[in-house]
């Protein structure tokens, strides 16, 4: 599998204090890569670098290289808006806009230049079908998105990102804020999307990582900063971990 | 009514009524006492001369002098005779106004000799019983620095403003009347016209005669009341054109009814 995203020696500092240092990771085209590790090891911060959301965080300074296809995402001249269209992101706490269900999807589409009514409606229906929400909401599209349940809101957020046809989908612990049933529904959705989208998922649920990820990257806090201590095929990392810390963490005795 | 509509409305207004041809316009600024009178005379003048606009701005005699001297205003309003350093301006007296001492209506004191007034205002006498009133501390109400009534009062009683020991300092006449009406033991001085109107319409004040002459518009008219001041329209040089027309009209007897209505004393030429 060719690599869609190459990260070399990436370091992120908040007001000078390092969140993580020297991370080198390759994200293969089409597969699901899980980032695991105890909380505070910098995996979420790493995710926010990939679509430059760090620009919105005061005091965040990024160094190192992130190559997405042909462009170097970390330098300031890149058009951040089109970068974020190609790299979608789903947050831990579902955050639909305080608009109607339809407007939640229509607003980003119009923003990225889609004007034709028919095309918009088609895209909205396709995205909602992709996430299995269409039947539940097709006759109340003008209802407020906030009236949906937690699981439905998260699937709406995913639909909202998929409608923009991203190349990569970043997910920051997508299921941890949901009840078990909705969490299962979202996980099935991720599995269904696997062949069509490259995904990077941050999770502290090792069982989930083992179930759905092709590759796993393990983060750990060493002397005050997050480090990538191991990466590889899911089976290899869980059965034959090279790093003792991974072995302990994967077997559940530490972390 | 979104923001667009507001902006549209505002634009329409600004364009819609730009002045057709610049109407002949006269600007008067000055004393807040004279301004109401000047404005009413201005309205009548406008009704008699269509297309003419008389703009009257208040702000005090000091402004009347400076604005007319600098040409910012065509005519200045000054509620006193001109001072020595203001002899470069030519005054035109449009009315007379007296200044009288006022007490609270229930104050038993009926009259005060000049030296008693001086003693009270300079703080030598501080209790009403020393001047024939009841035993109560006197509250002296004085005018603010620079006001024409203060200058006239000090000039007549041969006082310097620093000599006056005031408890309360006020600005305009109405404030003086309301302050005295609100404090039974107070003493102040204001324009006779205002005081006579207010006393006659239920304000709790009464006017004191001055050196034996009863304080009334009538006595100012027949010049027996000693404390009076001219209300002047002043111009930088001899007025001409629209200014002359207006001043002649203002000095004529066609405005005497307006002068009486504003409780001032018309000057019979």
């Amino acid at each position: 599998m060719t690599d869609l995203l190459n990260v070399e020696q990436l370091t992120l500092r908040y007001h000078g204090k390092p969140a993580f240092e020297g991370v080198t990771l390759a994200i293969p085209q089409g597969g699901i890569t899980a980032l695991v590790g105890p909380s505070g090891c910098g995996k979420t911060s790493f995710l926010t670098c990939l679509n430059r959301l760090t620009d919105l965080i005061p005091g965040a300074v990024m160094s190192g290289s992130i190559r997405l296809g042909g462009i170097e995402a970390s330098n300031t001249t890149v058009d951040v808006i089109s970068l974020r269209r190609r790299v979608g992101m789903i947050f831990q706490k579902p955050n639909p806009f305080p608009l109607s269900i339809r407007k939640n999807l229509e607003f980003p589409l119009r923003e990225h230049g889609m004007r034709d009514r028919g095309e918009i409606d088609g895209t909205i229906e396709k995205a909602l079908r992709d996430v299995g929400l269409w039947d539940e909401v097709k006759d109340r599209l003008s209802a407020p998105a906030m009236s949906l349940s937690g699981g439905q809101q998260q699937r709406l957020s995913i639909a909202r990102a998929l409608a923009l046809k991203p190349e990569i989908l970043l997910m920051d612990e997508p299921c941890s804020a949901l009840d078990p049933i909705s969490s299962g529904v979202v996980e099935d959705l991720i599995k269904r999307l696997r062949p069509r989208y490259t995904m990077v998922i941050v999770t502290h649920n090792l069982a989930q990582a083992r179930r759905i990820a092709d590759r796993v990257a393990v983060f750990w806090v060493q002397d005050g900063a997050g480090r990538l201590i191991e990466q590889g095929e899911t089976a290899q990392v869980f059965e034959r971990p090279r790093d003792p810390l991974t072995a302990a963490y994967v077997s559940g005795s530490r972390g | 009514m979104t923001l667009k509509d507001v902006a549209l409305l505002f634009l329409l207004l600004a364009l819609g009524c730009s002045p057709k041809e610049a109407p002949r316009k006269l600007v008067l600024t000055g004393s807040s006492t004279v301004a109401p009178l000047a404005a009413e005379i201005g309205k009548r003048f406008e009704s008699l001369h269509p297309g003419v606009r008389i703009d009257v701005q208040s702000g005090g005699s000091g402004r009347g002098v400076t604005d007319s001297r600098q040409g910012l205003a065509d005519v200045g309003l000054v509620s006193r005779a001109l001072k020595d350093d203001e002899k470069d301006l030519t005054p035109h007296s449009v009315a007379l106004d007296g200044v009288c001492v006022i007490l609270h209506k229930d104050n038993p004191v009926a009259a005060l000799k000049d030296e008693q007034v001086v003693a009270i205002f300079t703080g030598k006498v501080t209790n009403w019983k020393d001047v024939g009133g009841k035993d109560a501390p006197i509250t002296v109400v004085n005018k603010a620095e620079g006001r024409s009534t203060l200058e006239l009062f000090c000039h007549y009683f041969r006082l310097k403003n620093t000599d006056i020991k005031a408890h309360v300092v006020i600005g305009d006449n109405q404030q003086g009347i309301k302050t005295v009406a609100g404090n039974p033991d107070s003493i102040g001085y204001v324009s006779i016209g205002t005081a006579e109107y207010e006393a006659g319409h239920g304000s709790a004040i009464k006017l004191l005669p001055c050196s034996g002459v009863a304080a009334s518009i009538e006595n100012v008219k027949n010049k027996t009341f000693p404390l009076s001041r001219p209300l002047n329209l002043v111009t930088k040089k001899a007025p001409e054109g629209l200014a002359k027309e207006f001043i002649d009209f203002a000095l004529s007897d066609k405005v005497h009814d307006i002068v009486k209505e504003q409780y001032f004393v018309p000057i019979t030429r």
Binding site: - | G62, A136, E145, G146, N161, T162, A166, G171, N183
Partner: protein, 284 residues
């Protein structure tokens, strides 16, 4: 035009607007300095603090009694209005049933709009005679403090009300879930959370208290003296300007601008003190 350039233009425009808003205060400061220069050069700044009294026509320019007048009136009004305003906002948000809260809030909004002339008139005709009955002469620092407190109360009440509305309801629900009393919740959870809004309210209200002219002019008695008791008549710097500006000429007029300049410096001192106290803790 790509949208990130639109963002660039947006920021550029906003920065221009902010510069204009910020420049107004500087312009006013410059204006006051220019108008004060003649007398400052002629008489020198020190005499404004050392002269025997304030009689500009006789070249005496001591402003200190009036500075005390302004400070006492402002401090008294803020001390009275702040607790009442904040408690009235707490009443609106946490104690009153919705219908009463709505009526009460529109009443406060009305109070905010009443012109200071009306407060002055009411003070002059109703409040001053009442105080005069207790201790003559009537017009006094106390009357000024009361009128000013009523005048600035809506500012702190509405700002506090908005601040409480911004506090996420989870905080109140969380505290209630722990069985904490309503007052306990307000006192220990809501107040800290709404600190920045309350602080804004206090700054705006103090600004309004210092800046008030018309109402103070009518009720304070305007006597140039350092007040020794609440019943002493007093003159504030703003009342001084309003009283004499209309008739002041030459150096007297320029001296009035010096009192305007002192007011501005007083406000700058207050603002930087507020900034130093909060040092970002408030706006965190």
């Amino acid at each position: 035009m790509s949208r990130s350039r639109a963002d660039g233009i947006l920021v550029y425009g906003l920065r221009g607007a902010a510069a204009i808003s910020g420049a107004i205060a500087l312009l006013i400061g410059l204006f006051l300095v220019l108008e004060s220069l003649p007398v400052l050069r002629g008489v020198g700044p020190l005499r404004f603090f050392s002269d025997a009294s304030w009689h500009p026509s006789e070249n005496l320019y001591n402003l200190v009694p009036m500075l005390w007048g302004t400070l006492f009136a402002m401090a008294g009004a803020v001390l009275v209005a702040t607790p009442l305003g904040i408690l009235s906002a707490v009443f609106c948000q946490y104690y009153a049933p919705a219908s009463i809260a709505r009526v009460y809030r529109s009443l406060i909004e009305l109070l905010a709009g009443i012109p200071s002339v009306v407060y002055g008139l009411w003070g002059l005709m109703v409040l001053v005679p009442l105080i005069g009955a207790v201790r003559p002469p009537g017009p006094s620092l106390l009357a000024g403090v009361i009128v000013l407190a009523i005048l600035i109360l809506p500012t702190i009440a509405l700002s506090a009300d908005a601040a409480f509305r911004n506090v996420p309801s989870e905080y109140a629900r969380g505290a209630a879930a722990l069985g904490i009393s309503r007052w306990g919740t307000v006192r220990h959870v809501i107040f800290p959370a709404a600190k920045s809004g309350l602080f804004t309210g206090v700054i705006l209200e103090t600004g309004r208290a210092i800046g008030e002219t018309m109402a103070i002019l009518m009720v304070c008695g305007n006597q140039v003296q350092t007040p020794r008791s609440l019943f002493d008549p007093v003159r504030t710097l703003t009342a001084n300007i309003a009283l004499e500006m209309a008739y002041a000429m030459g150096s007297h007029r320029s001296a009035l601008f010096v009192s305007g300049l002192i007011l501005l410096l007083l406000i700058v001192a207050l603002v930087s003190a507020a900034e130093w106290i909060s040092r970002g803790r408030i706006y965190g």
